[in-house]
């Protein structure tokens, strides 16, 4: 139905740069997630599509139309708010029907479409209730219904699930994904929750300090982080990031020495490795990268997170759920060397292992 394009878009609030020179194209029917910590500019980016904020510079397009100067009402986008933003003085029916009323849809069609949408989100028995008489999950559905009642060109969702409890959130996540697939509407979804991003998105744009750090499929973001920020932000528990120096194919830091770090020389380097790519071995085994004492052991159920004391920092690894180890016990560690990432601490960019290939 519609693609959305950001062309060198910058948004400043006074001196604060909320969004810095963003270029981004969201494809037709795509589910794009803007992911990042709070204050990273993701919500502002989305609000500029809705017309709730005006870009300081740059252009925003829906399809081929430049929308910078288009009033929100003519943009034909729908938005689901974190707080749901249901009109407390209107019934469920009137809440869902508000966009139709504004557009002067004739009464019989108005009724028909509200009912149709309400059935879809299983609210058809509650049409006469007021928002305050609904549960959190039901309110969420009303907000959703209000957004889909007119099949907009673009859906905007601002952390729509974050006010729900954990169980409901998982359920609504699945429903959202299914709904988007069914409706085939271009969707921009803002969240700080990486699980939501990974599970929902076709593509994820990871934002930090107003800049898109990386744009890619969830798999790319996870398996191939391009920057130090993305590496540290994605994954739970997060990637181990060990500062050190890379020289002639060897990465060295206090207590750790890894060979095979390419042929690059980086004086201030950071080695990144995910907990699941670090494996426990005996302290005397061959091919281990280091030996370190156990700092703490946390059983999560499906596996065990082991923190090792490594120099001044902790190295986290994911071990089998049956792992048994005592604090201060020394264990050997083997790092999957093909799963390591090297970053330049100054530019915060990935350094490829084989730059001369």
């Amino acid at each position: 139905m519609a693609s959305v394009k950001f062309d060198n878009v910058t948004k400043k609030f006074g001196d604060f740069v909320a969004v810095a020179d963003v270029n981004l194209e969201i494809r037709d029917k795509e589910f794009l997630v803007l992911l990042g910590p709070s204050g990273c500019g993701k919500t502002t980016t989305m609000r500029m599509v809705a017309g709730l904020e005006e870009p300081t510079s740059g252009d925003i397009y829906i399809d081929s139309d430049r929308i910078n100067d288009v009033l929100p009402k003519y943009r034909d986008v729908a938005m689901v708010f974190q707080s749901y933003a249901l009109y407390p003085h209107l019934t469920v029916e009137d809440n869902i029907g508000y966009p139709l009323k504004i557009r002067k849809v004739p009464p019989d069609e108005y009724k028909r479409r509200i009912l149709e949408v309400a059935r879809r989100v299983e609210l058809d028995t509650m049409l006469k209730r007021l928002p305050k008489e609904l549960s959190g999950g039901q309110r969420q559905r009303v907000a959703l219904a209000r957004a889909i009642v007119r099949t907009p060109r673009v859906f905007l969702m601002d952390e729509p699930l974050s006010n729900l409890d954990a169980k409901l959130r998982t359920q609504m996540r699945a429903e959202l994904k299914h709904l988007q697939h069914e409706l085939q509407v271009t969707t921009i979804y803002v969240t700080h929750d990486q699980i939501e991003a990974m599970t929902l998105a076709h593509r994820v744009a990871v934002m930090n300090r107003g800049v898109i750090e990386q744009l890619g499929t969830p798999r790319e973001i996870y398996n191939d982080p391009r920057t130090l920020f993305v590496a540290g932000f994605i994954g739970s528990p997060s990637m181990n990031l060990i500062p050190g120096e890379a020289k002639d194919g060897v990465f060295a830091s206090a207590g750790l020495r890894v060979e095979g770090a390419g042929h690059v020389n980086v004086r201030l380097a950071v080695l990144g490795v995910r907990p699941e790519d670090v494996h426990v071995a005996g302290p005397e085994d061959k091919d281990i990268n280091l030996v370190a004492p156990i700092y703490s052991v946390e059983l999560t159920g499906e596996n065990t997170l082991v923190n090792l004391q490594l120099g001044g920092q902790l190295l986290t690894l994911r071990a089998d759920k049956n792992f048994a180890g005592a604090i201060d016990q020394r264990v050997g560690v083997r790092i999957a060397e093909d799963r390591m990432f090297l970053f330049d601490a100054e530019t915060e960019q990935r350094v490829d292992f084989q730059p001369d290939s």
């Binding site: 139905m1 829906i62 139309d65 929308i67 100067d69 288009v70 009033l71 009402k73 003519y74 943009r75 034909d76 557009r103 479409r113 007119r150 099949t151 060109r153």
Partner: protein, 305 residues
């Protein structure tokens, strides 16, 4: 669901006026109030300044005579003005202090017991809502020397009866009592609201730390109430400075100018002595003082933003 074919029309920028108005809504919505208030405050202030440098004859046929700063110079030598200034200060300080002492004291004492008695609370608030003129005649009736209730009580108690508002020494006190009667509920109500918004945890922590209730009052209650106290103080002082109605009815400024306050004096200068030029000069002085006072106070207390 909007038809696809309509999408071109959807991206029209919007009708000319609609777009124009939306873009400027922030100014359009503010403008009427600002224009009205400018007309009603800035214009009179300037006009008053203009009047203050003239001698204005009661005869409207005669032209205004430019006198420069003469009217302002009179402020220094006019003994009546100094009396009015002093009376206003005395009234403001004593009345507002009493209202605070009583209002805050009552609020602290009764907070726990009256919190749910909404109806009673509203009844206690009645005096400050009443027309000042009604309050004035009511107290005039009570102070009445011959058949007033107050003298009846004095008589029953075996005390000498008084002329009250007509007595040189008691006139100001009579005005203050009536004002305290009317405005103590204001302080009481605001303090109750302040107390109701106090958080519980700091008190529990203080209790565990072994702080006495006296210490808790000074270390917790007063700091927490400070914003409310500031607002109440500002509003009461500004109100006390403009006192007019009570004096006009109860004493007319007498006896022997003991209750002549600034507002009343300006009124008298302008209308009884028919000297609007000089009245304008005094008004400017009062305006200046209240603006300085309220601005300083509002900035200090960060009442705005």
């Amino acid at each position: 669901m909007l038809k696809k074919g309509k999408s071109a029309a959807l991206f029209e920028i919007g009708g000319g006026f609609e777009h124009w108005a939306e873009r400027r809504l922030r100014y359009l919505m503010l403008a009427p109030a600002v224009v009205i208030l400018l007309a009603l405050t800035i214009f009179p202030s300037l006009y008053m300044f203009y009047a203050a440098v003239h001698r204005i004859s009661p005869n409207p046929e005669l032209p205004w005579q430019f006198v420069g700063t003469a009217n302002f110079a009179r402020l220094f030598s006019d003994g009546q003005f100094h009396v009015a200034l002093r009376n206003t200060a005395v009234f403001t300080i004593i009345a507002v202090s009493l209202e605070f002492a009583l209002g805050l004291g009552l609020a602290l004492l009764l907070d726990k017991y009256i919190r749910r008695l909404t109806f009673l609370k509203t009844v206690l608030m009645i005096p400050m809502m009443l027309p000042p003129i009604a309050v004035a005649i009511t107290w005039k009736l009570i102070y009445e020397p011959q058949f007033g209730v107050l003298n009846e009580i004095m008589y029953r108690l075996g005390l000498p009866t008084q002329a009250w508002a007509g007595d040189v020494d008691l006139a100001m006190l009579s005005i203050i009592v009536a004002d305290v009667w009317q405005w103590t509920p204001f302080i009481f109500l605001l303090m109750l609201a302040g107390l109701a918004s106090l958080p519980v945890e700091p008190y529990e922590a203080a209790e565990l730390d072994g702080a006495s209730s006296w210490r808790q009052f000074w270390d917790l209650t007063i700091p927490f109430l400070k914003p409310v106290i500031a607002i109440a103080l500002l509003l009461r002082v500004m109100d006390a400075l403009r006192l007019f109605d009570l004096v006009f009815i109860l004493t007319g400024g007498g006896p022997a100018d003991r209750t002549k306050v600034l507002s009343l004096y300006i009124y008298q200068v302008a209308y009884r002595f028919a000297d609007p030029g000089y009245a304008a000069a005094i008004s400017l002085f009062v305006l200046f003082v209240t603006l300085i006072l309220s601005t300083w106070f509002m900035k200090r207390m960060r009442l705005v933003e």
